[in-house]
């Protein structure tokens, strides 16, 4: 288990939409070890409020040097993060948790909603980098077209030929939920392996569709986290059968086989 605590220099801070930012940090130790689906704990301020580091998925690594994060401003921690500028430094710990398993898969479908798109970009990049890239379909959902920012384009730019979009208001792509795209775009007979990250109700719908088609499904889950390294036991979630010891998202996840966890 290679994990590091790095004092990372901010190389670039880009505002993609009014709420979404992309932060590039020089963190070579983390960058050279990270796998898609893993996350980092990020210091957002050097004061005691906010106190705890914030968990953020690794959006991509660039050349064993840079770690890029894609985040939405939702509260005080992410707001303070958005105010940081190049040259400033912040501490981060990572890479943490288990990522997606995409080895030996014939046909993969990545389903992302909202900020859940963040780790899927890294995953798509790594899938396309494999020697014999499997078929890879990307389905993205957001409330409105504006919320996507440049992300759909980014997937196309790295060579994902099939990217389909859904918006709640129909301003781009299919009007409705991204889970509905699964049945529209994936051939039912095929053995698809689905990787999903996004709001809980969205993932629940994706898991349901996968069960009906008997497709494999990996989900990336979110919980409140204090430590990110399985010391506080704060990130507990129930197992599928609701009994036995809780699972811990930071250590057992954040990516789980959908059948391991309870869908309440």
């Amino acid at each position: 288990m290679n994990q590091f605590e790095e004092q990372a220099e901010i190389v670039r801070q880009e505002q993609l939409t009014p709420e979404i930012f992309r932060l590039s940090l020089k963190a070579p130790e983390i960058a050279s070890q990270a796998r898609p689906g893993q996350f980092v704990m990020v210091q957002t301020a050097s004061c005691y409020d906010p106190l705890l580091r914030r968990p953020l998925s690794i959006h991509q690594t660039i050349g064993n040097e840079l770690v890029q994060l894609l985040y939405k401003v939702v509260g005080k921690g992410t707001r303070m993060l958005a105010a940081l500028t190049p040259g400033q430094r912040l501490k981060l710990t990572g890479p943490l948790g288990h990522g997606f398993d995409f080895s030996d898969q014939q046909a993969l479908c990545l389903v992302g909603g909202g900020m859940g798109i963040a780790p899927l970009y890294f995953l798509a990049k790594e899938i396309l980098r494999t020697a014999n890239p499997p078929k890879c379909v990307v389905l993205l959902g957001a409330r409105t077209a504006a919320e996507f920012g440049p992300l759909p384009r980014d997937f196309m730019d790295i060579g994902v030929t099939q990217t389909h979009l859904a918006t709640d208001d129909g301003s781009l792509g299919h009007q409705g939920f991204v889970a509905e795209l699964l049945l529209q775009h994936l051939a039912p007979g095929n053995q698809w392996s689905v990787c999903t990250c996004g709001p809980h109700p969205m993932m629940k719908a994706v898991v349901k569709a996968c069960r009906q088609q008997e497709w494999q499904c990996q989900v990336s889950l979110e919980t409140m986290m204090a430590c990110g390294i399985s010391a506080c036991l704060g990130c507990a979630i129930p197992r599928a059968d609701l009994s036995g010891p809780y699972l811990h998202v930071c250590k057992d996840g954040p990516v789980f086989n959908a059948n391991e966890v309870a869908w309440l």
């Binding site: 106190l51 705890l52 204090a226 390294i229 010391a231 506080c232 990130c235 979630i237 036995g244």
Partner: protein, 306 residues
């Protein structure tokens, strides 16, 4: 240049420095091995162990508050047997003292834990948790009544050859009374404070933010209260006091030592900065050198009043 002398003594135990890690905030030490040279620490207090494994409370279990956090983990742990078979091998090799934090629902459970752990190699002492606010039975009941606190201490001491530290709850009217009870019961030391009972509400849903409704407050927010209690208890008992509560920097640690603590435990700070405990050890070393002290023990109880 000479190495600064950071040694402190608690009962018969000499610690290489006064910096320990607080139970429940440092896992079973292995979790922090990528970030901390574990052998640089004075000691490690492991996550509380009960006789049978415990599942803990339902999520959500943690919330951040201004300068602190609330937790309602509910003492989730692997239980005594798995602790001994799965965790002790690693702990024996970390090169520092290992203190095992124990908790039970009855006097018998505390006794059995004490007895069984005394037979295990590699443990330097027991920290008896009579102060967790997150469990319904036992726990806090033992810690809020001086006679009960004395009885638990006596029962544990009678069943172990290991030094016994009793960890006190701040959720009482007069913590010095509990400390006196524990001293009378035969403890080698007291540690304080455990978390303060608190709560947080989501105003949108009008629901409590913790599934358990209430939880334990920890972190920098509680430091002034912890410091006051350590100072009070250090004057009330003759046995050594271990200070806990919001210690995040070297200066925080020094404040507790000046107030009369012989050692300190770093808790929530481990989450904010996984290297916090080691940085405090290094900071205390610099303090001793820069102030030309004979050793850190010169600082203990050095508060000047009046």
């Amino acid at each position: 240049m000479n190495q600064p002398d950071l040694r402190v003594t608690i009962g018969d135990l000499v610690f290489k420095n006064p910096v320990l890690t607080a139970s429940g905030t440092f896992g079973y030490a292995k979790e922090f091995a990528p970030f901390v040279n574990l052998h640089h620490l004075g000691g490690v207090v492991v996550k509380g162990i009960s006789l049978a494994p415990r599942r803990g409370n339902p999520p959500p279990r943690i919330v951040e508050t201004a300068g602190g956090m609330l937790n309602a983990i509910g003492l989730e742990n692997v239980g005594l047997d798995r602790f001994i078979s799965e965790k002790m091998d690693y702990l024996r090799g970390i090169g520092t003292r290992v203190i095992v934090n124990i908790l039970g629902d009855s006097l018998e459970e505390y006794q059995t834990l004490a007895q069984r752990l005394s037979e295990v190699e590699g443990i330097s002492g027991l920290e008896v948790n009579i102060s967790c606010p997150n469990v319904k039975k036992g726990g806090v009941a033992f810690g809020t009544d001086p006679a009960m606190a004395e009885a638990v201490t006596r029962a544990v001491c009678a069943h172990t050859t290991l030094p016994v530290i009793v960890k006190l709850s701040p959720n009482v009217t007069d913590i010095t009374q509990i400390a006196r009870g524990v001293e009378a019961g035969g403890a080698q030391a007291v540690s304080l404070i455990n978390t303060l009972l608190g709560m947080a509400i989501d105003v949108k849903s009008r629901r409590p933010k913790l599934a358990n409704i209430v939880g334990g407050l920890s972190g920098p927010a509680i430091k002034p209260i912890a410091l006051r209690m350590v100072w009070q208890v250090a004057q009330a008992v003759k046995i050594p006091v271990i200070g806990i509560g919001g210690i995040t920097t070297t200066e925080d640690a020094l404040e507790f030592l000046l107030a009369g603590a012989t050692a300190i435990e770093v808790g929530t700070a481990n989450f904010i900065n996984p290297r916090a405990s080691q940085e405090i050890v290094e900071g205390l070393g610099r303090y001793v050198t820069e102030n030309k002290l004979s050793g850190i023990s010169e600082v203990i109880g050095g508060l000047i009043v009046g």
